[in-house]
Symmetry: C2
Subunit: 483 residues, 2 copies
């Protein structure tokens, strides 16, 4: 007779957890669990004995208290749109899942103070709409905004397409409510722009991928809704030219430059081929493209004049080979849709080895040249589709398999290619994860590339906040002995 | 025979510390120590057996290593311009001081990536000039910028007059180098806009007031230098009208609104009376004033048009009673000089009880009304000179003594009045320290006003980073048993 591993909760313990939320919110049915266990890139296959759906912060607290007392691992999950398996339970473990999906109340909107206070299960698109409803902008925007939830976006410090002007999730949050692993509730739901009263607990929980506690509510920053908005799509000869154009645009537009997205020719090919409704906006082909997004507070004319000035200057400097300016909101959305389809458009082309890295902005051309050479040496015929947020130094350096190659054999080289590409980025002072985080995917690599003292400090923080080691074990940091 | 307290270093230990920096950089002479022991408000009188002036990060590391091994308390000091005695040694203790003043190298400026990497002893004004030299802006600006140093500004998460558009020091820093209490060096000097790789150590050291380690270098963000700049000074009837004008200005200007500073009539009286060169810019008196600062990236005309639009709209809405727009840089500087003289101008008027608090922006009128009533009830005849960064919700709620009152008797009520005013701010969801920090001045009050779990988490972080309790003891958190 074998007893279950100490970390796999037995039936008695499971029913104690279920009782905390009520039977209809404690899911054990395999079919009902399927969507929660599906990981975006199909690299991980987690299992769980139970998924809990608390409806209040007090229920979250009760769950974590019981988990700490019984040493039960808890994996919080938001909209399950992450790319590093940070919200996935482990394959063989008995991790309980905690979904935030019922915590969807908007507590308050203050258009004078420009804040919105909401629960962590709110979907990003709903928050954008709520802000719009009071004449304000919540600027965070990304492909999965229709399902990503605020708690997950905070826990991964999400980025997206408006970071250049507005910052990522860390910069868009003023206050948090967090349930600690012990079940205690930290109420830091402050609506203050300035508050210098001790250590910055807020930013410690943001980006911690649920390993230090569960974010249950947040105060988000709102902004005036810009009156002017212009989007242009430009054809360019090289990454060097894209960088030079970015510099000029940033200098001319300042904070009105709300997006500068780099795309390669192959990305335009892929999207035109596979994404319904997408077509190449320019009459002839160019090696590179930049999508330029301008927002101005005061007037529509201001944005128009600014965009024309940038394009004229770029044309005179022989940087812009051709350009089209969106003449309507629908056209602007179509250009953005092409950019946001860069990743999905790679799927029909076979396997894709992905990177989410950053380098200092000025180092992007050097990075691209070195990475391209190294990747093509390792995998001749590989189709490099590197695109991303040029103004943030953030490149999604994705590599589609050679035409006709074996997909599984190609994908088997994921770690090998990661190591090559990451080494080049690190050499240039870059990072192996710009906006997606660490999760399970890059956990071991993080420990390798970061100095011992940095990982040691993180482990000390983890031990100080979660002595029982129950919070999202196996993510971000290597597992402690308890978990 | 009595031995010195374990925390007061004996002569042998002092000479070991002195040997680490060389005799000319280990100061024990009372006269030479005087400027380092002078505290801006004269509320604290620290003593020290020795001040060390390391010239390299390795010397800082050697000092902290020896301090940790011997349990010697270390108080880091930047430009000694703080307002909460955070860089002052304790009165009776044997705290050694560590000045950053020799770490003044600028390592690199990257105008494309908009970063500047420098040592922590650099003076803010020198950094502003270095950025200007490559056509860029380092926006942090405050009254003491001629002596405040980068390390201190980071350790206090300094604010100042440009926070509205650019954020405070936390938002202006990309990377740090920190010497840990153990003498280990964390090299986090990253120049990346996006880097989601683990817990946010950077923001933990920023604002920690030197209690977790010594910041020795930083990567700062630069910005394009605005082409347009306009400053206006407006006369207003009430704080409510100031708030309404702020809302309109923020909506119209968006990120181009780089300053919105509230001043009371009495502040204009004080500055006109006591500060050479300052005169009331408007022909008749108004109860309140707002200084509006506009910066535009693209053109000087843009700023001009925007300022005129804001003032016209404010006039039509009967918010702006009178206004003057600076016609030259010199006039703009004169208006800012009046604003920055609000605090020094109170000195000749006798004792001043000060507050640096924040509330949600929309709550400023309610705060002012309640605080004024409570203060005048407690001290009839008190002259309230409340001014500050309205757009940040940050009010320097200063109270000058009644005319003819006894200064010492008035100042003896500092804590009593603080308690009254802070309670009103906290009731409105505010903070007892918006930008100056906690230091010694507000340490005990912080522990009172914050929930136990918040202080407990901070203490756990402190213990995890500084087990020997040597770093700036008695600041921010109550002293641990070791220190």
């Amino acid at each position: 007779m074998t007893s279950p591993s100490p970390n796999v909760p037995d039936a008695g313990l499971l029913s104690r957890f279920a009782a905390l939320v009520g039977p209809s919110y404690a899911v054990t049915d395999a079919e009902a669990l399927t969507p929660y266990l599906k990981e975006s890139r199909g690299l991980y296959h987690g299992t769980t004995p139970m998924l809990l759906k608390p409806g209040t912060v007090d229920e979250v607290a009760a769950i974590l208290k019981l988990a700490s007392e019984t040493g039960t691992p808890i994996v919080p999950q938001g909209g399950n749109t992450g790319h590093v398996a940070g919200g996935m339970p482990r394959e063989a473990g008995g991790d309980l899942m905690l979904s935030l999906e019922r915590l969807t109340r908007i507590h308050a909107i203050d258009p004078t103070g420009n804040t919105l206070t909401c629960e962590a299960g709110c979907v990003l698109a709903d928050i954008q709409r709520a802000a719009d409803g009071v004449g304000r902008l919540f600027p965070l925007s990304l492909g999965s905004e229709g399902s990503a939830r605020i708690g997950g976006l905070l826990s991964t410090n999400a980025g997206g397409t408006a970071v250049l002007a507005y910052g990522n999730m860390r910069q868009l949050c003023l206050g948090l409510q967090v349930v600690l692993p012990t079940g205690e509730i930290w109420n830091g739901l402050r609506r203050l722009k300035k508050d210098n009263t001790g250590y910055d607990l807020r930013d410690l929980f943001i980006g911690a991928e649920g390993t230090l506690g569960v974010i249950t509510a947040a105060v988000l920053k709102l902004f005036p809704r810009p009156r002017g908005h212009q989007v242009a799509f430009t054809g360019l000869s090289s990454v060097e030219d894209a960088l030079a154009l970015f510099e000029r645009a940033a200098d001319r537009a300042g904070p009105a430059l709300t997006g500068f997205e780099l795309m390669p020719r192959i990305g335009v090919d892929f999207t035109s081929r596979h994404i319904p409704g997408v077509r190449d906006p320019l009459p002839s082909a160019h090696p590179w493209y930049a999508l330029i997004d301008i927002s101005t507070a005061d007037s529509a004319e201001g944005a128009q004049a600014l965009m024309l000035a940038i394009l004229e200057e770029g044309h005179e400097a022989e940087l812009v080979r051709d350009a089209v300016v969106a003449a309507s909101d629908a056209q602007a959305q179509a250009l953005w849709h092409m950019r946001e389809s860069m990743s999905p458009a790679q799927k029909p082309e076979g396997g894709s080895i992905k990177h989410d890295l950053s380098v200092p902005v000025a180092a992007i051309p050097a990075f691209m040249a070195a990475a391209d050479a190294a990747v093509l040496k390792a995998i001749p015929g590989a189709r490099i589709c590197a695109f991303g947020h040029m103004g943030d130094g953030n490149i999604h350096y994705n590599i589609s398999q050679p035409v006709g190659a074996d997909t599984q054999a190609f994908l088997a080289r994921w770690r090998e290619i990661n190591a090559i590409v990451h080494a080049i980025a690190l050499d240039l002072g870059g990072s192996i994860s710009a906006e997606h985080g660490i999760g399970q995917l890059k956990r071991d690599e993080l420990a390798e590339v970061r100095g011992g003292i940095e990982i040691a400090l993180m482990q000390r923080i983890k031990a100080a906040f979660d002595p029982a080691g129950i919070m999202n074990p196996g993510k971000l940091l290597a597992m402690s002995s308890q978990a």
